[in-house]
Symmetry: C2
Subunit: 407 residues, 2 copies
């Protein structure tokens, strides 16, 4: 496989390099069986300046444009819609291709398509770019209609809850009362969880992978390093860099830090070990690079082409601030009104959002009589496993979704 | 305690803040019982331009100045000398105070002194700053006598082995044939291990804490991020910044990354949790900082005052390149000629140089019939535990050292 699509936490070719087992009908091209084929992103805009949604901060904010894609068909009673939520660096392009020549399928293409876990023969799958992002939905790089210039740091602080409110506007626009499921990994899982709490009557089920109800101090610390790298870049200029050079080095360093946290020590060891980049001889100079170094530098540099540094700041802050239990005086109170059936999946080597954090949520759900299945998959791939462990993850998801119909 | 001395991997006040149990007669002031009192750093210089030691790269390098301190007295037959080796960001100031007003004792003051683990009533303790460092021993910030200007990147690439060769010159200078022990944590432990391999006849014992014979890909990756942050700083200027502003932001970011790796997730959670810096109200702006963020930023900024960015690059590269087994075609061959008795100590939550890495060395030693004791201490404090777990570590060390006399 030679797919190079941008992905959620890591780039997809990353998945391909690291994978040691085939994943069934994976991405190849738009005409391949199992592909949703060529898809066209769509935009939905609502609100006017000063009016749109009420952010968690209390600020009224609009207008908001939402970039989204859909796969499959909405059925007659509008009951088969699944909303997929992307991770930190992901986007609305979850499956398929943007043209016949496009070699880079969407970031969860191995999970979404005819016959796949999110079976587009059965379900109408929606994925939208988050508020604050930089892939079509309104974010700090968007033009502020009041000034005619990019928002930069005048963009309001947004939260996971705000992302979900914007998604609800989109779901309303699509005429869907109740989602068959909400599903995501990492920051996507946080949004899925938030949906079930904020809109219990509108979520029939939720699939939450490699997520957490609140980041650890360590995870916040890694995000803080990334933000520091960005704001220390001479080109960042207080976030007002859109008419000049972007803070590319700072953003690349932030991405390098992130990449380390998305993989496990074991996965990095399997993938790179202590191998040096090919060179005739060890030269005792700083040209002697380990493969892991040049890989990270490559990932950092590549990221800069597709991501906005200010979005990095806003979205990472949204994750840091997320603390579902604190907002409701405890996780049990937070989930007590949930009506969704849950599938919560963790990966044994995920040290960014370790399994114990998901278990806290699951135990709170159990104590409240919420219908929840918890599965921890043994995997060496760390946090990124939800992009990689398709063989074991896909049957779990499809079984869970099919099981909903039995009731 | 209010000590604020620079330390090995972390700053000492860090230790004090994190510690929940007293550590016996700890640092306080020069007159306190258990303190070695006021100490004076000394310099030893050897070699001339182009002649000094033969580096592992094959380059002849000199002159070299070694900054060192000693505590206690060398006995008549010069058999009671213990060489302490410092960690990455440490220095020669391992114990005592530099003046009566000095409130900042040396970095391992809680381990070195009369009646302490390294008992200066019995042993003559030596600690020197490493080659490539920036605390008195020749490094990239030193003046190249050939040019009259700081070396910068014209300083040769150095290795752990080279650090040890310089220490041997110092030991020769002090007239010591055989060291009673070599001891260090982290990068210091790598040097101690290297001593026993390179100079088996000169090392009676070795104490190796929180160390490794080779870094994992993940540990290399963290170092690579730090180096990238430094060289991306506009003030780095290819390493030639000594007559201007140093690359302070880049170095601070490197330090922040390092700090995360020195603590465990649990230790960070205990220390900071998700507490926000004190502020009247959560303001939904970027002034809302978690305590862990401001702590890291403080540590980063403070580090810049005492450390040289080029030393960060050279020393972190030396650690990355260290691979004892690879150099000898396997760890068993590497240790087969060791004559030292070993104490190898690891800490359960050290994820930077995890216990399994020390065990690889220990098992190789056992297979070669080398006399080795291995102790893994259960500790939540991560890699930094060798600065913190004094209550349990000190008796281990003193018992080990006393046991040598019984033979």
């Amino acid at each position: 496989m030679d797919s190079h699509a941008p992905a959620g936490e890591s780039a997809r070719q990353d998945s391909d390099r690291i994978k040691h087992h085939p994943a069934g009908p994976g991405p190849g091209n738009a005409a391949a069986p199992g592909s949703v084929g060529i898809v066209t992103p769509q935009d939905y805009t609502f609100g006017v300046p000063g009016k749109g949604i009420t952010l968690e901060s209390g600020t009224e904010f609009g207008p908001i444009t939402v970039r989204y894609e859909t796969y499959g068909r909405l059925n007659a009673d509008r009951s088969n819609a699944i909303l997929i939520q992307h991770a930190f660096s992901g986007d609305a392009h979850a499956a398929g291709y943007h043209s016949a020549e496009d070699r880079h399928p969407g970031w969860w293409d191995n999970m979404i398509g005819p016959g796949k876990a999110f079976d587009t023969n059965r379900y109408f799958v929606i994925c939208s770019n988050v508020l604050g992002g930089c892939q079509g939905t309104t974010g700090p790089g968007s033009i502020d209609p009041e000034t005619g210039r990019p928002y930069g740091l005048s963009f309001p602080v947004i939260t996971i809850d705000d992302m979900v409110k914007v998604q609800r506007e989109l779901i309303d626009h699509l005429g869907i009362d109740r989602l068959y499921s909400v599903a995501g990994g990492s920051m996507g899982g946080m949004q899925a969880l938030e949906w079930t709490v904020r809109y219990p009557e509108r979520t029939r089920s939720a699939i939450i992978m490699a997520a957490t109800s609140r980041l650890s101090a360590q995870a916040i610390a890694f995000n803080a390093v990334g933000r520091n790298a960005i704001v220390s870049d001479e080109f960042w200029k207080g976030g007002d860099y859109y008419d000049g050079q972007p803070p590319a080095r700072g953003l690349a360093i932030a991405r390098m830090v992130g990449h380390i946290t998305y993989l496990s020590e074991q996965a990095m060891g399997m993938k790179f070990g202590r191998r040096l980049q090919e060179r005739a001889n060890f030269g005792f100079d700083f040209e002697d690079q380990f493969q892991v170094e040049s890989y990270l530098e490559y990932q950092g540099d590549k990221f800069v082409d597709r991501f906005d540094a200010n979005s990095y700041i806003y979205l990472s802050k949204a994750m840091d601030y997320y603390d579902l239990g604190a907002r409701f005086d405890g996780l049990e109170r937070a989930v007590q009104n949930c009506r969704a059936k849950f599938l919560v999946v963790t990966f044994s080597s995920d040290w960014l959002y370790p399994p114990y954090q998901s278990k806290e949520v699951v135990f709170a759900m159990m104590r409240q009589g919420v219908d929840v299945s918890y599965v921890q998959l043994e995997s060496p791939y760390g946090h990124d496993a939800f992009f990689l462990e398709i063989d074991r993850q896909a049957p779990l998801v499809s079984s869970f979704l099919e099981g909903l119909d039995e009731k």
